[in-house]
Symmetry: C2
Subunit: 405 residues, 2 copies
């Protein structure tokens, strides 16, 4: 029989324990910061009706970039490409019971069907944080403060990143004031979003709207309030950026992005904004929302570049090996392992009877900090890093525990 | 514009914070028990090449019960229906580097395309725990001990569940010895797996293999070793069950299942077994494996029935509300919130100026244990359960923290 390939599906990742360790670290920091600000975790399935994305996500995203298929019950189903429509659906469904201000976060995996490239895979995990039910500027400020606090919690310095802020309404009104017709506003905005990637931007814009457009804009009163609020919160690396747009069609007010300031890798890392009309897809009484999403792939790149990733530690404290194998010693061996676990240690065992050298190698490969050998009636425990040893008896679980601290 | 439905896709669940709380509780208990035994967490994508399931999962599962579609690159891709083929693929890919015994666990979400019913949804989460590289009976014993410890960690009593144990080779040899041909062994085994659901089982079996088959079998030496090992570990609710089979084709030795003993709801809750040949799908040198999978939906039903689910607690300690809104008080208010967060409290804020009664209702809906009101230069913090109050100043973050303990 021919052998199957061990590669994962194209553009997705396997998480070996060393990768999962990093993933868990990232999730833990995200959770901690969000919970400090009173956000509660929610979740949902990756499967959503395709209609959910057709109304508001932006044409390119739905038509060219999603995994969408027809199920056997003839339903058109999409692997969610983003979480905001899902959370809007959930909030709309229970808007009478939930209680506002509502602060929610989730760490969903999302799917995009596009050619994999640095920082963009077909599946990634994304922190989503949102406040619902607050029209006031305090919610815009809080969301940006949290984005900032997350960067700091990962160890980033102020000079490593910059927060750029704009308002969707500013750019849309500015285009209107220069005579861009309503039907061209969306397309013009999307063109500005790609300004840096388009070499002949001015030409393209003229072709679209029929005239030269200037992009000199000044911050609105609301943007200034946000900037003042951030200043009061001690944030010095935020500024107004008139051409900041963001891709999703549903943003209706403030938008922001966090940029990596590294000269060789300057780029947008994540961002978000205000979307006051999204729940009106589901019901007449719209609930205002403001939030952001931050992906694990881009973040991990950033942390690697800045040497901010923690070193892998094993959750296992001790690899306990049995050398003399007969029925009695096996029973005593497992009793010892059980009493060590009861004392609070995480213990993996081995009774293969392999050579000590081979067992050391296993402990090294697994990053286990301590190895123990049980022979007749004694236990020798060794610190893998310092080579320090403890020799003791079977009934000394506490002594062993203290040695491994 | 017509409104979109707020329902989730058929057969999957939304996790509102009260649901996510239960989910997180279940995951936490799983993680804790597995890590006690030295298991390390791994992960993978839900997207897998469809070929991965065609060889070994059992025909019914692949052909009738999976979400499989063709992607735009003409690849046949499946939403994983189970985790074992994925972990076998990952182990086979790095078998020279990993180090054995290898203890791994994961909590993947899995997809089955079948009519939703009690305990079986289209998407569920499943703890998967496996040991690789150990042929000896100690690995079979450890896996069953862990299944038992998990039930205990959730608060189940010995009489609430029973562990049934068998060996695939016993049943297959028994069929062979009675003259069942090799080509009928798999089908006969699958028929025995459904014995309880088939009213005319004897007739069906005779139709399949051409003769009457007796099902009287006695435990093998290995099964007796496992039962003895479990007894030494203090497990009293395990027994041999000769007709236990389990669905997947890849099991090659010990199989076990944990049954709910409740009279009104007696059923298999979860199980696993030994699969020594699965990695041979990928490479010549097979790595022996033994493990189990336990799903969240069935477990949650069990915990609900036995009244073992914890009550929802909020991760947020304090809902802090500002009453007098001017620039100065807003700044002082956020400074107070920040100092409370620095003292270790999780604090949500409100500066809507809503009535106190409305703000109490929000705290109640969110299960927040404390509410605080900031008025001019004082803070009043109230215990939502006891109605006890603390009145203090802005610079008393520690006093407030102690009150909320």
């Amino acid at each position: 029989m021919s052998k199957l390939d061990t590669a994962s599906y194209k553009g997705v990742r396997d998480f070996y324990p060393e990768d999962q360790f990093i993933q868990n670290y990232i999730f833990k920091v995200w959770r901690k910061v969000l919970e400090r600000y009173g956000y509660e975790e929610y979740g949902a399935s990756i499967l959503e009706p395709a209609d959910l994305y057709k109304a508001k996500s932006g044409d390119e995203i739905v038509n060219e970039q999603t995994y969408t298929f027809i199920d056997r019950g003839d339903r058109e189903v999409t692997l969610r490409p983003e979480m905001t429509p899902t959370v809007a659906r959930m909030v709309a469904a229970k808007r009478r019971e939930l209680g506002f201000p509502l602060r929610w976060y989730s760490i969903p995996n999302l799917f995009r069907y596009e050619a994999p490239q640095r920082g963009r895979l077909r599946e990634h995990w994304q922190l989503n944080a949102d406040i619902f039910g607050v029209k006031g500027v305090e919610a815009d400020i809080e969301i940006i403060v949290i984005a900032y606090e997350i960067m700091k919690a990962f160890g980033a310095k102020d000079e490593d990143f910059e927060i750029q802020i704009n308002d969707r309404s500013l750019i849309e009104n500015h285009l209107r004031n220069q005579g861009v017709s309503e039907e061209n506003i969306n397309a013009a905005r999307q063109l500005i979003d790609k300004k840096k990637k388009i070499p002949n931007f001015e030409e393209e814009m003229k072709k679209l709207v029929g005239k030269d457009i200037d992009l000199v804009m000044f911050p609105t009163e609301r943007i200034n309030q946000i900037l003042t609020g951030l200043e009061f919160s001690g944030i010095k690396n935020a500024r107004f950026e008139s051409t900041l747009v963001r891709g999703f069609d549903y943003y209706s007010g403030m938008v922001f992005e966090v940029f990596d300031t590294d000269e060789t890798n300057s780029r947008s890392m994540f961002g978000g904004g205000r979307y006051d009309n999204l729940t009106s897809m589901f019901s007449e009484d719209a609930v205002p929302g403001v939030g952001f999403g931050s992906g694990d792939v881009v973040l991990k790149d950033f942390l690697e570049t800045h040497n901010l990733l923690p070193e892998k530690r094993s959750r296992t404290d001790l690899f306990l090996c049995l050398k003399d194998i007969d029925v009695e010693s096996v029973v005593a061996f497992h009793k010892l392992a059980a009493s060590l676990r009861d004392a609070g240690l995480n213990v993996a065992t081995d009774q293969s009877g392999k050579e000590k050298g081979d067992l050391y190698k296993v402990a090294e490969k697994h990053n286990t900090p301590f190895i123990g050998f049980v022979e007749s009636d004694k236990v020798v425990v060794k610190n893998m890093a310092t080579r320090e040893e403890l020799e003791t008896n079977f009934d000394e679980a506490e002594t062993i525990k203290n040695f491994t601290k």
